[in-house]
């Protein structure tokens, strides 16, 4: 028993973190990722490997029980904390570790959150829905059959994806019908409204503020744009299984957001972009996935990099890389952003619909017929930002 307790103490010194981001919680998510990396804790892909559940953002009221369900899948000893404000990330993480230490002592009971950092509290979960890798439970209907792409009749499994997956747009729930691991159809849950307290979508903030007439430095906008694309590229590389380069992208992003020296950022960005561009394997693996020709993109109202790339996932990847290098060159640009400059990281802002709405419109069409891993790459290569939509849903 003494050995077990000692092991537990060692293990919780660096707890494995499962990060669940809530729409509108992008600043908190970034702060948690930064704090987790600074502490040297592992960020894991599913509840089985996690000790500590961290909810980033301010969960909307309603649909209680969802976070409990996710939390119940952690094997334990376990704990959970929520980070509503980015400034509290580091404090919440160390509070989580203290909770884990306490939970390790009382191994028989599942850890119950308590105190200020204890769980989502009365706020409750955002989206009623599936958790990671939903197991087929007893009371689900049996798989029905359907024609597959080769004209055979095969079982169809309905599998919801999201909202908590690693490198997945926060809040997105994609309902897939799978035959084997081929996606035969996909539908999307409507985005949940964001809590009223939230500010503008984090990645679009400089342009939206400039549109309202506030003075926004051009350099600050370039910084945000570069960081947004680094975030997207890092997530795409994470899904593509290139952890080393994904880590570099995220470190660069964190550096940008914490005010790193422009020259150092430029150097880092150049090396990252070269490595990405030179990789033949990346080209081989991303070519032909989620083809979105310019005409189709324009008709769907897509703007931004996905339109400019005018092609498949690899083209979008290259387009992001080029944008990273370009915006890294503008980090010291003088002057203010004009009120008419309204192109954010994901496209044209200020119209009736946010740019991510168009990306979500084309998404189901692009994933249908692809293999599961390819479908995840397609989602990551579009990287819609549901913060934009949940704001729209809350207002409209």
């Amino acid at each position: 028993m003494g050995v077990r307790a000692a092991l537990r103490r060692r293990a919780v010194a660096r707890p494995a973190v499962l990060l669940a981001a809530v729409p509108g919680g992008t600043p908190s998510r970034l702060a948690v990722e930064r704090a987790v990396r600074a502490a040297g804790w592992p960020l894991v892909e599913g509840p089985a490997a996690a000790d500590l559940l961290v909810v980033a953002g301010r969960p909307a009221p309603g649909a209680a029980g969802w976070w409990d369900e996710l939390y119940d899948r952690l094997p334990g000893p376990r704990a959970r904390v929520s980070v509503a404000e980015p400034e509290h990330a580091a404090r919440a993480l160390s509070a989580g570790r203290d909770l884990l230490r306490a939970a390790g002592g009382a191994a028989a009971r599942p850890a119950r959150p308590s105190g200020r950092h204890g769980g989502p509290g009365p706020g409750g979960p955002v989206v009623a829905g599936p958790v990671v890798a939903g197991p087929v439970s007893d009371h689900l209907p049996l798989a029905e059959r359907g024609d597959d792409r080769d004209g055979l009749r095969l079982d169809v499994l309905r599998l919801p994806l999201g909202p908590v997956l690693l490198d997945w747009p926060a809040g997105l729930v994609l309902r897939l019908a799978l035959q084997g691991d081929v996606v035969v159809s996909a539908t999307m849950d409507p985005p949940s409204p964001a809590p009223a307290a939230g500010g503008p979508p984090f990645w679009d903030e400089p342009w939206l503020r400039a549109a309202r007439g506030e003075p926004v430095a051009r350099a600050a906008a370039a910084r945000r744009l570069c960081a947004a694309h680094l975030d997207s590229v890092g997530r795409l590389l994470g899904v593509a299984g290139w952890a080393a380069l994904a880590g570099s992208a995220h470190r660069l992003r964190d550096g940008l957001l914490t005010g790193a020296d422009p020259a150092a950022v430029r150097r880092g960005a150049r090396s990252l972009v070269r490595r990405g561009e030179r990789s033949l394997t990346a080209r081989w693996m991303l070519r032909g996935l989620g083809r979105l020709p310019t005409a189709l993109a324009r008709r769907a109202g897509v703007t931004g990099p996905a339109l400019a790339a005018g092609g498949d996932a690899y083209d979008r990847f290259r387009c992001w890389l080029a944008e990273i290098e370009r915006s890294a060159g503008l980090l010291t640009a003088p002057g203010l952003l004009g009120a008419g400059e309204r192109v954010g990281p994901r496209g044209r802002l200020g119209g009736g619909r946010p740019p991510s709405a168009a990306l979500l419109d084309v998404l189901p069409r692009l994933v249908e017929g692809s293999e599961f891993g390819a479908a995840r790459l397609v989602v990551a290569s579009l990287d819609p930002d549901l913060d934009e939509l949940s704001r729209a849903a809350a207002h409209g």
Binding site: R4, L7, R8, R10, A11, V12, A13, R14, A16, A39, G40, W41, P42, V44, E45, G46, A48, A49, D51, R73, P75, G76, P77, G104, A107, V132, A133, G134, P135, V136, S137, D138, L157, L159, L165, L166, D167, L178, G180, D181, G238, V239, A240, G241, W242, A243, A244, L245, G247, S279, T281, A282, W284, M285, E371, F372, G373, A374, R376, L377
Partner: protein, 294 residues
């Protein structure tokens, strides 16, 4: 001829391999992942709804067993626990046990994503196994024996890697693929939330992921007697050469992982069958002609 090893070697084999696997895992891990095994021991097992728990546990236990059984023919210097007359075939058979192991671990928890992970490994097996068998055959052909000791003996003058470079490269690729590691890690990929390992917790998880590191070390270690001259080398004692060469192979694999994104089987399988397999056949043919002409 390899000398017989004392009996206690058999008992020492699992802990020695475990230490080697742990050292490799530590060298490969980014900061913070170092205490992973301790973490797993401290955790409870977990259950999923309507799971076939015995099957999942069987898969998790089978993986390290396969690795350790394969290592029986692995010589340290010129001695192995058992220098079987069909050592090369034995190693391949044990490595193939990884197929049911990963499949069972993926099937058992009754979860869609872990099942996809299990399936992915079968597809991977179909892609790497045929070229790998050809590579093993090539080494055995060069020595005229299926005995690993004899293969090492045949490299007294010239290492096989010098005249069978394709077979060596195929073996290295297969080592990563059979341990579903590095660029071949999609069966337990992050895109399927951990895949075949995604629903395993506690001791099962430790056994499965530990077994994977063992398998990587054993498969990389096998490259040394087959292609890199085993214990042959100047100055240093034979056992030391084995360790140095194994470490070099593992370092090469670690470097490869940092350089490459993951390889998906829906793309790789075609190349494996149309490019890698013919190359491996051509390599075997060249070696056969050389052996006949000697």
């Amino acid at each position: 001829m390899a000398e017989a090893a004392p009996l206690w070697w058999a008992l020492a084999l699992p802990p020695v391999l475990a230490v080697a696997a742990a050292a490799t895992a530590l060298a490969a891990a980014p900061a913070g992942h170092g205490v992973a095994p301790l973490r797993e021991l401290a955790r409870r097992r977990r259950r999923t709804v309507a799971a076939d728990a015995p099957l999942a546990t069987l898969g998790a236990v089978l993986l390290p067993l396969a690795a350790v059984s394969g290592a029986v023919v692995l010589p340290l210097g010129f001695r192995s626990v058992s220098d079987l007359a069909v050592g090369v075939v034995w190693f391949n058979a044990m490595a193939a046990l990884a197929w049911p192991a990963v499949w069972l671990a993926g099937w058992g928890p009754n979860s869609a994503l872990s099942l996809i992970g299990g399936y992915r490994f079968l597809a991977q097996g179909l892609a790497y196994e045929v070229p790998h068998m050809l590579a093993l055959t090539t080494a055995a052909l060069g020595a005229g024996s299926l005995r690993v000791g004899a293969v090492v003996e045949a490299q007294r003058g010239l290492w096989f890697v010098t005249w069978m470079p394709v077979a060596f490269a195929v073996h290295l690729l297969s080592a990563a693929a059979m341990a579903f590691w590095g660029p071949f890690d999609r069966p337990v990929g992050r895109d399927v939330a951990g895949g075949a390992a995604g629903e395993l917790g506690g001791a099962d998880r430790l056994s499965f992921l530990g077994g994977r590191w063992l398998l990587l070390v054993v498969a990389a270690g096998m490259a040394v007697p087959l292609f890199l001259g085993g214990g042959h080398g100047p100055l240093l004692p034979a056992w030391c050469w084995t360790l140095v060469k194994t470490a070099a192979v593992l370092a090469a694999l670690l470097w490869l992982r940092r350089r490459l994104p993951a390889v998906r089987m829906d793309r790789f399988a075609a190349v494996a069958w149309t490019v890698v397999t013919p190359l491996a056949v051509a390599q075997a043919l060249v070696v056969a002609v050389v052996v006949l002409g000697r």
